[in-house]
């Protein structure tokens, strides 16, 4: 499953990943941090190119499922304004063993940050800017 949503429901993600053939479930949740490069962050806003973002996430998901033989894989990204602590991205996998689950989960988030057309605007107390490089 890949989705762009207004609000991420983490409990629902965990439920969706449940699979009787899976012995290991690994989930990464990205949340809004209150600081960036020494500045206080007040909120984030995400712009997305929905149709292409879905298409790019599907490619990444399919690659991960084939490479690690996953039972399930999920990628969800939020859109719009997000406050400190809000979940903005969640990727998760269900695999037979942790040996596949951990690297597959890391692959999903690392590749998402490289190619999926989603843009983050950081708001500070007195300014804002589009993030152009993801650490």
């Amino acid at each position: 499953m890949v989705q762009i949503v207004e609000h991420i429901d983490l409990n629902e993600v965990y439920k969706q990943l449940a699979d009787p053939a899976a012995g290991g479930t690994c989930i990464f949740v990205g949340t809004v941090r209150d600081h960036s490069l020494g500045n206080d962050v007040t909120k984030l806003n995400f712009d997305t190119y929905d149709t292409m973002a879905i298409s790019e996430m599907e490619k990444i998901r399919t690659t991960a499922i084939e490479k690690w033989g996953l039972e399930k894989a999920i990628m969800i990204h939020a859109v719009g304004e997000k406050q400190i602590g809000d979940p903005v991205v969640v990727v998760g996998v269900a695999a037979a063993h942790r040996k596949e689950a951990f690297p597959a989960c890391q692959f999903l988030i690392d590749e998402l940050k490289k190619t999926v057309p989603i843009w983050k605007k950081e708001f500070f107390t007195d300014s804002s800017h589009w993030v152009s490089q993801t650490p």
Partner: protein, 76 residues
Amino acid sequence: MIVVKAFGQVKEVLGSELLVNKEMTDVKSLREYLRNEYPTIVWSTVAIAVNTQYAHDPDPISSGDEIALIPPVSGG
């Protein structure tokens, strides 16, 4: 005429949709047009997508294609 979608920092300069009233045959010709018309944007960092796929300079553009400008992504 082609319609070009813009996102992120490029959208703040061009608006969400840009109408190009000129014949474009490939990605390279569109890129050159944009460079001339909007010199304040750092076009070397902006990818161009055709029909939701990342495209390269030699790739053709036809009327009816969905074209989008993709500045450096920063999801997650």
